[in-house]
Amino acid sequence: MNRVTLIALQLLVGVAFLLVWHLLTTVPVADGKPLFAPFFFSTPLEVLARTWKDFASGEIWRHLGITLLETVLAFAIGAAGGIVVGFAFARRELLAAVFDPYVKAANALPRVVLAPIFALWFGLGIWSKVALGFTLVFFIVFFNVYQGVKEVSPTVLANARMLGMNERQLLRHVYWPAALTWMFSSLHTSVGFALVGAVVGEYLGSAGGLGYKIHEAESVFDVTGVFSGMVILTIFVIVLDTFVTAIENRLLVWRPDTAAKTA
């Protein structure tokens, strides 16, 4: 199937969905009311109008900025921590063996239950959200880096050693690039989780951000506001993901083009 047909079909699905939604919430049936009450389901046009208004008034930018900052911080700190600990564990067998049950236990814990604790520790500002995002990102990056360093091709490693590389050179030319590959292969997931941490944290208690905005609308039964918040969140995710794909394609040029395709 060629590209144009595919895009046309993809658009068709979206348009059909909106159309059904529109018809069900606006066209009156038997008793003069639409089948789905707009109070509960809103309407596509209202959601669009609200989204437009939020952007036009500039009010949304503050929330977007807060969520973006939290996401970036959670990702950066989580990734840095995951890389350092992943490397240390992969290169020091004993460390990995001793901490193994604790790492598994910590990772098994549903992170949402930590949100109130973090709010208590770090307050209702951005840092409690960054902390929540960190606990999600850290483990993804940690496991991938650990795996990446452990699973360096033994032949590539033996070859590098036969070329006379010392530990520092091995780290730079073999272990580090191998670990980065694995980290980047999970980039979409970890950035996604950083965002989840931020939004969930905002949702559970904050004074700004997209999660806050959605929660605020929910608490006054403003369904249009909730849907509008979701639309903005979706746009935000798509933009962020496009950005990540661009970075990934730049950094992993040496790979056969599987990376670009799974994006």
Binding site: A158, N159, M162, W254, R255
Partner: protein, 287 residues
């Protein structure tokens, strides 16, 4: 067992050097692995082997006879359980820094371009980056990859990757070349081309070579000496044959010469027994 290894080793071109000490000297080498089941598996037993400077020695033997194990012990990647390895008269301790190793599997760093893969081999020697790149470019040209410097390994064919690996090994000018079925994964034509390239490069600057293969024709075409190993476990050396064919050789053409056939026949007589032994062992293992 090893009738030939004890003979004085002399190739016409390197007789003066050969009179001195060998580049590689294996004495009473035993290598035993602990299997996952806990039992011990003796891969090779009581190996004596000398390789003179500038001598091209090929080790042939049935699959699983421990040829690669022997190579890894010489490289220092593997510690022998008994016996010792001497490199240019000095006992080997740790990795063999005088040797270059060409692996059977892809050993290039996939995240580096062809030229970076070759140039990085000079980094441990302290060569400045700019000079390393310059010399890497020269080496890529010598292995026939002039226009491929900026390609990543996955953008090269199997034969091209082997050429890069060859340049990566040779740029350091190692005294001893260890090769573990390096052309095994390649198709027949590419193998011949690579064999000729290897002989050309080797002839320009003769080093001791320890080359492992299961392909007897390849072994004879390339080497000065062919060493036959017995079927494992506890494989030993059962034959040591000198290949007195004139150089320079062409890998493809030399196979048609009568002298080649005579040597092939003699070695095969010794190798065939071992191959059959290994085969029947494999059959038993499957039952």
């Amino acid at each position: 067992m090893s009738q030939g290894a004890a003979l004085p080793v002399q190739s016409p071109s390197a007789s003066a050097a050969a009179a001195a000490r060998p580049d590689v000297c294996l004495r009473g080498l035993d290598i035993t692995f602990a299997l996952k089941t806990g039992e011990l598996h003796a891969a090779v037993k009581n190996i004596d082997l000398d390789i003179a400077p500038g001598e091209f020695v090929t080790i042939v033997g049935p699959t699983g006879c421990g040829k690669s194990t022997l190579l890894n012990a010489t490289a220092g990647l593997l510690k022998p359980s008994a016996g010792h390895v001497e490199i240019q008269g000095a006992a080997l301790n740790g990795l063999n820094g005088k040797a270059g190793y060409l692996f059977q599997a892809d050993a290039l760093m996939p995240w580096k371009t062809a030229i970076d893969n070759v140039a990085v081999a000079l980094e441990p020697m302290g060569v400045p980056k700019a000079e390393a790149l310059q010399r890497a470019q020269d080496w890529l040209a010598r292995v026939g990859l002039k226009g491929f410097a900026q390609r990543y390994p996955h953008m090269l064919s199997g034969g091209q990757r082997k050429r890069v690996a060859l340049a990566q090994m040779l740029i350091r000018d190692p005294q001893i070349l260890l090769m573990d079925e390096p052309f095994g994964p390649l198709d027949a034509q590419t193998r011949q081309i690579m064999g000729n390239l290897l002989l050309d490069l080797w002839a320009a600057n003769k080093k001791a070579v320890m080359f492992v293969t299961h392909d007897l024709e390849e072994a004879i075409a390339l080497s000065d000496r062919v060493v036959v190993m017995s079927a494992g476990p506890a494989a030993g050396i059962v034959g040591d044959f000198r290949v007195e064919l004139p150089r320079p050789r062409d890998i493809a053409e030399i196979r048609t010469e009568p002298a080649f056939h005579a040597i092939h026949k003699a070695i095969w007589a010794s190798l065939r027994v071992e191959v059959q032994k290994a085969y029947s062992q494999g059959e038993e293992a499957q039952q």
